[in-house]
Amino acid sequence: MSTTSPSRWKTVRSETGRALTALVIALAVALVVILLTSADPGAAFQTLLTAPLSSNRTMGLWIDDVAKLTLTGLAFSLVFQARQFSMGVQGQVYMGGLFAALIAMSPIGATPLAIPVAMLAAMCAGAVYGFIPGYAKARFGASEIVSSLMLNYIAILVVNYLIRAHLAPAGTGQLMTAKFPDTAIFPAILPGTRFDLGIVIALVSALAVWFLLYRTSWGLKLRLVGHNPKFAEYAGIRSSFIMVSAMTVAGAFGGLLGSVFVQGRAFGNLAQNFDGNLAFEGILIAIVARSRPLAVPIVALAYGYLRQGAQLMGIRTDVPTEMISVVQAIIILLVASSFSLPGKKLFARLRGQKSANAATPEAAK
């Protein structure tokens, strides 16, 4: 980043302010929805806001979510920075999960190599799955949005079929595989909780994506292509190569998320529909983080808290978990748009500042 430190801090401050304002507005709407639908709104809202801290176990659930949200947020950040709207993270998660599970259930699964090999296999599978829509776009001009979404559905159906017909223990009718051997499951950092290796992988990945984007020439080219494809083309950058490679690398992180899912302590096996729609929530993370890899874990921490609160609210009170999608949509809408509060200009004028504050360039796009 070539920007000087003070202006960078200003951007960080204003972006944080925007995100927090969006969050407050979204929570206010959530409160209204809860007031309208719940028999005991106070308890429901309190559960939403405080439940994740209520025990070691729930904190483990929260951190587990943060790890996964960070990874999906990173995958989306990479493609958004290249200004590609590849929505294929879900499919990559399924493919990655499948291959990680295949390794974990093979003889390698019982050796100490199980975790690294399975992660590698998952990343390769995800990368291949990310490569397909990228190549289809670069070579044939096929819209990556539609093709990646179609590939998501295909991946889910294929993985569900393989689990049902081949991978589940025969004769039980279960829709999941048997537990992997212990050597193939991530070790817990805090025993008895879901606080496992996943969060470490997520943080290392965030650093790796940051390094790729901001400290390599590939990352510079990628950001250039995302920012101004015509200029990048004039500057001699092969934008189609950058496009495909960005989607492939993002696919690798999607695949890695698949391995974190199936090998994490939450599952330890491969089950049908295991992602619980979490993969798509990376869109929100990436948008709020403005596709900055180092901001992704922080946003994931905050959003994961909210998500876990909603899960617990769904279990402990009469408000369904799905209510949170209202909050998600509002946050995306507000953060993606250049909204300003009605009174903001007036406030700025009162303080004697210039109200013509140039809008910050939308880095998320």
Binding site: G141, I145, I324
Partner: protein, 316 residues
């Protein structure tokens, strides 16, 4: 194989194709309008889903046409919401679209569990109504071709007939009215209509509203004819397939219809195939519409790209 051919060339299969095509057709027409105005509507899926649920819930208390209209209104309102955030607040249209999709996947489940008293899966305990079919049994009186005509044409949803009419209506609007010209101009090169005094943002906003309304009819057909009642995630990617149909249909209503028909045929195949080939796993058959969409998209994009290259070459 013979059985498959016999099935495919039967009247029942044709009726199934019409049924599976109708929601795709409406959504594709909606997507076409907003795409021509320069805003790719990726929220067709969410609009259909929300419209489907709205229609089902309203149909419990009101006649079917009120229910369909309320579905249309729900879609149109989502279109207006997208227009507001995209045009007034300058948010990226694709991100806005996905926000609507996220709202739809969770919001419909939330609303469903409110409406049914806790059921998060289906609306099976709500007495919802269906869109009536059009009975054309009088065609049977025609000598020779009568029975065939009847089995082909009778019993389709009113909305299917409306769909055929809408293809014509959208074509007429786009290519024979000044507003259609505005709309295409706004999508093609916004600076020119802007200079000519055409309210660009307004045209885009209305096309998003129209897009939502059309997707809303598709959602109503899905939940009030194809299936009676709402199930969680019942659109199952149809909105995205319709988006593929828009891209495949060469930005023309008739093209969009043909593309929707193509995907409808494969969806119908996925419905009849389990009975014929029970050795093929059901999940694999369900992937057919998605696989066909990807392949068709790639093939068509490739041909379009070739055609562009040829044109450029011939100019030199």
């Amino acid at each position: 194989m013979i059985e498959l051919l016999l099935t495919v060339f039967s009247a029942t299969f044709f009726v199934t194709v019409v049924r599976t095509t109708t929601p795709l057709l409406f959504a594709a027409l909606g997507g076409l309008i907003s795409d021509l105005s320069g805003a790719l509507n990726v929220a067709l899926e969410g609009m259909m889903l929300i419209a489907a649920l709205t229609a089902v819930i309203v149909s419990v208390y009101a006649p079917w046409y009120v229910a369909v209209l309320s579905g249309v209104a729900a879609g149109a309102m989502l279109g207006a919401l997208m227009a507001f955030f995209h045009l007034r607040l300058k948010a990226d249209i694709i991100l806005v679209g996905f926000a609507v999709n996220i709202l739809a996947t969770g919001g419909t489940v939330f609303a469903l569990s409110r409406a049914t008293g806790g059921d998060k899966g289906t609306s099976i305990n709500l007495p919802s109504k269906a869109v009536p079919g059009v009975d054309l049994s009088f065609l049977e009186a025609i000598p020779a071709v009568g029975p065939t005509l009847k089995s082909l044409l009778s019993g389709h949803s009113i909305l299917s007939w409306l769909g055929v009419f809408m293809v014509f209506a959208v074509w007429y609007f786009l290519f024979r009215t000044p507003y259609g010209l505005w709309l295409r101009g706004v999508g093609e090169y916004p600076a020119a209509p802007e200079a000519a005094g055409i309210p660009v943002a307004k045209v885009r906003a209305w096309s998003l509203v129209a897009s939502g309304a059309l997707a809303g009819i598709g959602g109503a057909q899905l939940a009030m004819f194809n299936y009676i009642g709402f199930t969680r995630d019942m659109t199952a990617g149809r909105g995205f397939i319709a988006l593929g149909a828009v891209l495949l249909g060469a930005r023309h209503p008739v093209g969009a219809m043909l593309a929707a028909l193509l995907f409808g045929i494969f969806e119908a195949l996925a419905i009849v195939m389990p009975n014929l080939f029970n050795w093929i796993p059901g999940e694999m058959i369900q992937t057919i519409p998605f696989v066909v969409t990807v392949l068709a998209l790639i093939l068509f994009s490739y041909r379009a790209q070739r055609a562009r290259q040829m044109r450029t070459l011939s100019k030199i």
